[in-house]
Amino acid sequence: MSAWKNYGYAIGAHVAFIAVWQLATMVTDLPSYILPSPLEAIRELGEPSYNWGMHIWATALAIFGGYFLAVIVGVTLAVLFVWVPALNSGVMPLLVTINMVPKIAMAPLFIVWLGFGIVPNMIIAFTICFFPIVLTTHRGLIEVEPDLINLVRSIKANRWQIFSKILLPGSLPYLFSGMKVAAVLAVAGAIVGEFIASERGLGHFLLAQQNALNTSAMMMALVFITLIGVALYGLVLLLEYIFITRKGIVT
């Protein structure tokens, strides 16, 4: 019962936010090119030349593609680091160094290397959200009680058994905390890519509308970018629920 009550509060807060925004535009004399009202923003959906569907599709593809590529590569690398100690002592410090490079600043390079289109944007999203996934998953894989390992080694558990029965499932809460951080970063990465060089996508659309000072269309684009991010985050929460929360594990 109280869960439903909490959902009620959450929905209420979202509705209130939009209502305050609408009210603010009504009671102030701000011109709509500074702060358009929510209703004005929604009205932009009716403009066929904006081609919303194409832009949403392009951005969503860049975000989800880059994100899931990062999850696959990140988890694989983290596992390799645990299995091959030499790799851990060599490549891990290198990764930490590379992580210090502002990924956003590398975006122009990717455009040079990969050209226009969705793929470079996907790669930028991948680059920016891959690090937290590697680092948290690796951390989760090595955070294990030494006595538990002693216990299973006393009956000659092999490496694969230790990995599949203890290390991997034990790392899931860490993986999900990394995935939540990464979801936010993936959205930012894809949009930056679209800012720099793109012919489609909501980031590209935002800049085009800025030139026309069409603020309400920009607002609507922002809303869609947010919704794509929320969808991704929601998917991660759903997976977390299936794999962790449902089993009563506290994260």
């Binding site: 006595d147 216990l151 006393s154 000659k156 594990i249």
Partner: protein, 261 residues
């Protein structure tokens, strides 16, 4: 392997002059020394001593997790042969249950690792949970159980593959005093029912005397076994035993061995 016909006198575990050192840089660090003790099949032996006396090291040597630097380690007797890597059950201070597995699935972990038949193991797990008194929680997750109940589950896990030697490293050290007393009684009952050889490491002098048919006393710096002796108290052991003269004598003897008197 050893001499002639089997008699009940052949110990199940024989440790003779066992010593373990670690190299820390150029320094040599003594983990444990002078460990000499015979443990008979089906005996519950307590090892008591302060932190750093090498109690846990002895368990690790018996579990073949560490190798003794010197001395003789023999497990198994003609009557009761021992299979290394198979006949060991371990219980630690922390229950160390996997939080994504139900209690019964946690108990089954060693059976899975050893590749024992699934159906029979599952039935045995249910029986063991019955024996340790948490049958109703078989399908619960560990974090839904109290510390004492979690420890009961970890005892069931140590028994699932029917090992001959159970090594317990301060299993009740993290429990509150009352739960600990109750678990002591429970352990005696479980030990009698399962007829296992148990090595019980503890900080608690009273606990060591109350549980053990033999007590080994360890000292720190240098880490060594100072003495070991039989505990002759009325069986079955009940809480009344603790108020007897003899119980007091044994505990005093251990205190003085530890230099506390």
């Amino acid at each position: 392997m050893s001499t002639g016909t089997s008699t009940g006198a052949h110990p199940f575990v024989r440790l003779e002059g066992v010593r373990k050192t670690y190299a820390v840089g150029k320094e040599e660090f003594l983990a444990v020394s002078d460990v000499t003790i015979d443990i008979h099949d089906g005996e519950l032996v307590s090892i008591v001593g302060p932190s750093g006396c090498g109690k846990s090291t002895i368990l690790c040597i018996l579990a073949e997790l560490h190798e003794a630097t010197e001395g003789k380690v023999e497990i198994g007797s003609p009557d009761s042969p021992f299979t290394p890597g198979r006949d060991i059950g371990m219980v630690f201070q922390k229950a160390l249950l996997l939080k994504w597995r139900t209690i019964v699935d946690n108990v089954l972990l060693p059976a899975e690792i050893l590749g024992l038949p699934k159906k029979a193991s599952r039935e045995r797990a249910r029986d063991l949970l019955e024996m340790v008194g948490i049958a109703d929680f078989a399908d619960a997750y560990p974090q839904q159980l109290s510390g004492g109940m979690q420890q009961r589950a970890s005892i069931a896990r140590a028994l699932i593959h029917d090992p001959k030697l159970i090594l317990m490293d301060e299993p009740f050290g993290a429990l509150d005093a009352l739960t600990r007393e109750r678990m002591n009684l429970e352990l005696l009952r479980i030990w009698k029912e399962s007829r296992k050889t148990i090595l019980f490491v503890t900080h608690g002098i009273q606990e060591a005397v109350f549980l053990g048919s033999q007590v080994a006393v360890m000292t720190a710096s240098p880490a060594r076994m100072a003495d070991h002796f039989d505990i002759e108290l009325p069986e079955p052991r009940t809480l009344d035993v603790k108020t007897t003269e003899k119980f007091g004598e044994y505990t005093r003897r251990i205190y003085s061995l530890l230099g506390m008197q």
